[in-house]
Symmetry: C2
């Protein structure tokens, strides 16, 4: 058992481990302090930044599933952090916005987010972080491009 697992050098695996550790750490913080789930936190952040928008806008901005956005909004509304008003332009949707207490929470949430990001990234230069972000973005896009049938068609080195 001295040997290093090859799995530990498998990049998608390393990515998953790191992401889970970071996300879990942050989720734990928001849950303990305000009882917010990750989707709820993201909606709070976006509403604070963009003001009056619809669930569809939130779905596009957050890259989350529309159901996740909907459920987060419902919880936040029940807690009095978010309010819906009818959308005059489109009867299907509502306009969402933070309430006064929602804005107050947002004012605490964002500084904590930045502080946690700062601590987690401590020791990295801005240049390193920019490179890192760029690589994340490329991996993201690349993984959507890769075509399954394309891989199926060759036998990846096995005779």
């Amino acid at each position: 058992m001295q040997q290093m697992a090859p799995l530990a050098r498998f990049l998608p695996y390393q990515l998953s481990i790191a992401s889970n550790a970071v996300s879990g750490r942050i989720a734990q913080e928001y849950r303990a302090r305000w009882g917010l789930s990750v989707p709820e936190w993201r909606v709070m952040a976006l509403l604070g930044d963009f003001g009056t928008i619809t669930q569809r806008d939130l779905t596009r901005l957050s890259l989350m599933d529309k159901v996740a956005v909907n459920r987060a909004c419902k919880v936040l509304e029940d807690r009095g952090l978010v309010e819906r008003t009818p959308n005059a332009q489109d009867g299907r949707s509502h306009l969402l916005d933070l309430t006064a207490s929602g804005r107050e929470m947002h004012g605490q949430i964002m500084p904590l987010a930045r502080e946690m990001e700062r601590r987690i990234c401590a020791g990295f230069s801005d240049a390193e972080l920019d490179t890192f972000r760029a690589m994340l973005d490329r991996l993201h896009r690349q993984s959507e491009i890769v075509d399954a049938d394309d891989i199926v068609s060759d036998n990846f080195g096995i005779e």
Copy 2:
């Protein structure tokens, strides 16, 4: 809605997006081709590399929850890909190993894993990938170090 979402520059979020995209892509591949879940695939990979080990060993090596390992092993055993033999040294655990058909599948699984990794990482130099791995590792460790109470005690810049 022209503005760029600040959330899109929040590193933990970018990490999560990229990781989900990559993992999802690979999971989809293994599910479509062999009906394997991610935990099942990881157990196959580790058993193929390490031979005769216990669930506890698999838990340590994979960094997964012991329940996830247990369930993956059960499924693989039912499918005849893995077999358990009693552990003479410790009556609580069993020794796990790939069956003949499990080894055959492993022989196809690992090349596909490496091929997908290669395609997803296409365009990056070895040096870039090494740096990237090192950063993932540091982010992982750093996020476990950050102490919640420590952050609670200061008010992160808010008066």
